[in-house]
Amino acid sequence: MRRLLLALLLVSSTALAVPAPELLPDPAQEARARHLQKEFRCLVCQGESIDESGAPLAADLRRLIREHIRKGESDAQIKDYLVARYGDFILMDPPFQPDTYALWIGPVAVLVLAFGVGAVVVLRARWRAPPEVEKSETLP
């Protein structure tokens, strides 16, 4: 019985609980809260935002966001507050700053580079020989 209780305790802390509705009475404010909580990461369960997470910490953070909205703070103020308190890790999207330049610019750089190399390949293939026209068959 004690083991079972212990197991249940463990379960309740990591349960896949669906978030409790601590809804704000004003629909516009509630919509802001819903939007904001998609931008922050649940710190104890890495894959999820606090919007999706059932962890108690995520529930606390959802409540925290609503308290700040009720106090009339802007989205940016709330974001700054949470980042100051928990670090950049809490942001689902990393900020654009020196140590993430490579992350944000990387994909664009690869795309540009790939098109550059592709253009060279195509031009060289054209110069290599006058293309012999094959019979017009369109086999896949």
Partner: protein, 474 residues
Amino acid sequence: LAFHPPTLYTGYVGLSATFAYAAAAMLTGDIDRAWARAARPFMLIAWIALTLGIAGGSWWAYYDLGWGGFWFWDPVENASLMPWLVATALLHSALATERTGAFRVWTLLLSIMAFSLSLIGTFLVRSGVITSVHAFASDPKRGIFILLILSVAILGALTLFAWRASKLESGSAFAPVSRETTLLINNIFLVSALAVVFLGTIYPIVLAAFGTKISVGAPFFEVFFAPIFIALMIVLPFGPRLNWRKGDLNEAFRTLLPALAVAALAGIVVLAVASPRTLVGAGAFAVAGWVIGASGVDFYGRARARTLSIAAMAAILAHAGLGVTLMGVAGTNLWRVESLEVLAPNEVMTIGGYDLRFNGVSTLEGPNYRAAHADIDVLSGDRVVAHLMPERRMYPAEGQETAQTAIRTNGFEDLYVALGDDRGQGKWILRAYVNPFAPFIWFGAAVMALGGLASLWTRLRAMFFARETEPAVA
């Protein structure tokens, strides 16, 4: 329900065979059209398995995790997506290698990359480097072992490649407007998409080694991945309509006019009907219509010319499947409706045109679990049209809890209900979603895999039953 991990590993194994072919080609210096033909069945098996594995994994996440979503850009998911992207690029590049001898060195490099990414994926998932919602038993010792295999394979292959690549005869002649160029563009986009997933997955791990913790979430991936895939799909229909070596763009465009009409129609219908009205949604459905329409054009053209074969169906199905999946992804992401309510027995919640009556929760004893079992009626007026029974199962032995979501689908949209927390006095939290076009995601993936199977079938038949004749190219 968890059939996706063995399926994915089948894909990884298939890529190891392709890798072996590549290594052999580099050692002998012999890479030609026969090589591409011999390696292709393994590429196809790997690709089909990866496609089905990824789709199965995303269905599992959709059904079992109870979040209403199907893809979370979780490192474990990304670990399976990366080899798929390269395998897709490889299938297309090897097509050119087999047909005209083009892109030989690049096909080799893709074979190496595909297997390397399978190893990196295995390392990410099994070593404990990342923590993930897919919490696996992992221990660091195994991680070091995998890292060792990974370094030997990747460094060995790349050294071999650097040493031999310059000696491999490369290059063939083709005009800027040709099938080869479209395959090249396909590869550019797929490799760029790979770069997005790779950077987003690896970057936080590397930064963490320097003591900085950041997280890379869905918004990062979507902002890059979506435009790249849309661009890829805009170019895609031209590929099958252009001849090898030198094609006729005007002629291709002329034959694609019906597809353009389908695209325009799809976009307009979405603008007129869908709410909320979004240009992104109209655009996505227009692109899906463009790709599916092009497959239709190919099908119809071949049927009329009596050249429709199983081999020809491969590209037609695979490309159409991609279009279908795009509709599913766009539909669920743009028009999902969700609602979260605390309900007492006999209370009704309304979501997206459905009335859900909560009849209460009972406790069920399973063989090794205890379940909270909810009973919900879906109402149309006063009539009960369906029962939904979402559960939460508690497994005391493992200390685990799983969600059994209840999904009612009509083929076009899913009504998806998950049971939340007990709020006392018979009240429970219910989370309901209406996911428009959600079934299309997996249906499209199945059609894609069927295309792969069609190609594999003609290959195997040619290999085993008609050795003396040249196999059809597909």
